[in-house]
Amino acid sequence: MRTILSIAIDALAFGMVLFIICIGLSLTMGLMRVVNLAHGAFAMIAGYIASYAARDLGLGYAAAIFLAITGTIVISIPLERFLYRRIYGSSELTQVLMTIGLTFCVIGITNYFMGPTLKTIPLPQALSQPVDVGFRTIAAHRLFVIACGAAVAVGLWYLIERTSFGIKLRATVDNSAMSDALGVRTQVVYAISFAIAIGLAALGGVVGAEFLPIEPYYALRYMVTFLVVVSVGGAGSIPGALIACLVLGLVDTTGRYLMPDFGNFFFYAAVILIVCLFPRGFLGRAQ
């Protein structure tokens, strides 16, 4: 029982990191129909900014997170304006080509300016302590990540289902020409959604740095994982992405505990099974 609980809480923490990073990609893919393979690159940029802010500027963890999110969004604005707007509505493969190109550029530039070494984001004292949760000790940071994930899920759900922006966003996605005619400024809606997606990537990149360490190749290393998680959840669905992250996190963690030698087999076999059972992902929109 202790073991099961222990595995479950590890799985939850890992799943939540995936969720925070992937939900932004799920939004861009499901709502804006852009296969943004450079999503991880933005998470990585945020990690570098946070690392710089915390280690070199000596700022606190919260300030570093804030700076990383705003900084990454600021960097993404000209990219959205000059690159992404050209590929809204293009074929998926064209989008793949461009966003992979962008990823290569980001990696190359990061390698040049930041060097190829690992960068860490020092945690505040409170988060770096192991906490005794009764059946085992767990890093406080993991609990923090779980809380962040839950907050993101609830916040996004509220934003999309309960605010006027959410209504405009959903309308734009369903029928952008009609929304335009009704006076919704779809360009603005797209730009804001893109910024939100990037901001979430940034948050995930920073709080997830303990799991997925920040280095230049980050952007490509985890690209597949992100893409798989989003598709399994169903692009554009918040609860879908959440379920996918938790299920895949659980499969991955349990598989690695029970049969570590075959850890990857479990993960990808589960992906094949899920996709065959739910061809649109857990909660995907009908196509």
Partner: protein, 393 residues
């Protein structure tokens, strides 16, 4: 005066060139390494080692200018490796090949060597078997078995009777697992469980849970240097294994100096065995580190591949000296068999039979130096270690 000297030199040069190309010629050396991509740091270290050697020992040997040509091979890719080697030999007319980070890449090059009449000096690729694929291969790095071997006895001597091995599931990982098992069991211990985890593992908590369940009091781990080592060490600490007193042993790949600033406090006290620590205390190493840091640009980035490259260049220079600039791979290789010198890592020797490097292996502990920087502090020396993988063959 200087101008006159220059003109004179040029004139003499021209005469010599006319009379025969044996003198003021350029000898090209092709270096293949991961200069971009996920292993770019290791490639940078190759370059730093090479440049440091040239800075300290000059850019020519016996009047032969030595030119270095770098070629990028970002990840293990034998087909590309062969294409690059072929291009270097046929098109760039290099007389020596060096570098190579991954085993399969080396395996793709060795079949070409005798036809190319070119020796290959391996700066890293650490599988024993490479040496058997061609008589023209010399290696100045290490093998995983070589660096792992002493750990078995160390663990036993520190009171560990039951150990668990956790390695990345690929060639060197398996080598390390076997080497530790053999040495530890020879010393009288028992390996209760062996775990091989996929290369792309990022969350190590479940593995640590398994370590805890196994009841072992010692953990032997092998992970290639890079991002996952950070997660591994942190997971070891956070799951309370460290506090519970589990002893942790690993070859030095785990605490590569370039990872130490990131690992920091988490790795403090960690004991690893390796052939080289940047903190090695000797005049040779001081000279090397100074030059290599200058070449690489930042002290934080310097680590073991640089010393492999540095000594590799030493071997290549000796080969050039022995052949006097003529392309004769067999003669070049024969000339360095049995060669011994004092490397930045300590005394080393090219074993005549295996052409692999024999060297000291050090037990090191992660500790803070006087400047508050984390280093691999050498605490015990195992002199004159051969590669056990090749020795048994």
């Amino acid at each position: 005066m200087t101008a006159g000297k220059k003109i004179l030199g040029a004139a003499v040069g021209a005469v010599l060139m006319g009379s025969g190309s044996a003198y003021a010629d350029t000898i090209k050396v092709g270096i293949i390494g991961p200069f971009s991509g996920p292993f770019a740091l290791q490639g940078k270290n190759f370059q730093a080692g090479v440049e440091a050697y040239r800075a300290l020992n000059g850019k020519s040997v016996k009047g032969h200018d030595v030119e270095i040509i770098y070629r990028d091979l970002p990840a293990a890719n034998p087909a590309q490796s062969r294409a690059l080697a072929q291009e270097l030999v046929v098109k760039e007319k290099v007389q020596y090949l060096g570098g190579v980070y991954f085993t399969p890449d080396a395996m793709a090059i060795t079949p070409l060597l005798s036809q190319a009449n070119t020796p290959l000096v391996i700066f890293n690729a650490a599988t024993s078997a490479i040496m058997n694929t061609s008589p023209l291969v010399v290696r100045t790095s290490f093998t995983t078995a070589q660096t792992t071997n002493p750990l078995g006895k160390i663990a036993f001597d520190e009171g560990v009777r039951k150990a668990i091995t956790v390695v990345s599931d690929y060639g060197p990982g398996v080598d390390a697992e076997n080497a530790f098992k053999k040495a530890f069991e020879a010393a009288g211990g028992e390996v209760v469980e062996s775990v091989r985890m996929p290369m792309n593992t990022t969350d190590f908590s479940p593995i640590m849970q398994r370590v805890r369940d196994s009841g072992a009091t010692g953990l032997f781990a092998f992970l290639p240097s890079g991002p996952p080592t950070l997660g591994f060490v942190k997971a070891f600490n956070e799951t309370g294994l460290k506090r519970a007193g589990t002893k942790f042993y690993a070859p030095g790949d785990l605490t590569q100096e370039s990872d130490l600033p990131a690992l920091g406090e988490a790795a403090e006290g960690l004991k690893t065995s390796f052939h080289y620590s940047v903190a090695h205390d000797s005049p040779e190493n001081k000279r090397f580190v100074e030059a290599a840091v200058k070449a690489i640009g930042s002290a934080d980035q310097l680590s073991f591949p640089a010393v492999g490259a540095y000594d590799g260049m030493h071997v290549i220079y000796k080969m050039i000296e022995a052949t006097d600039g003529k392309q004769d791979a067999q003669k070049a290789v024969d000339a360095v068999k049995g060669l011994s010198w004092t490397s930045p890592r300590g005394p080393v020797r090219i074993e005549p039979e295996t052409r692999h490097i024999t060297q000291n292996i050090y037990l090191r502990e992660v500790a803070k130096n006087a400047d508050g920087k984390y280093i691999n502090k050498e605490i015990q020396t195992f002199p004159d270690q051969k590669d056990p993988g090749l020795a048994t063959q």
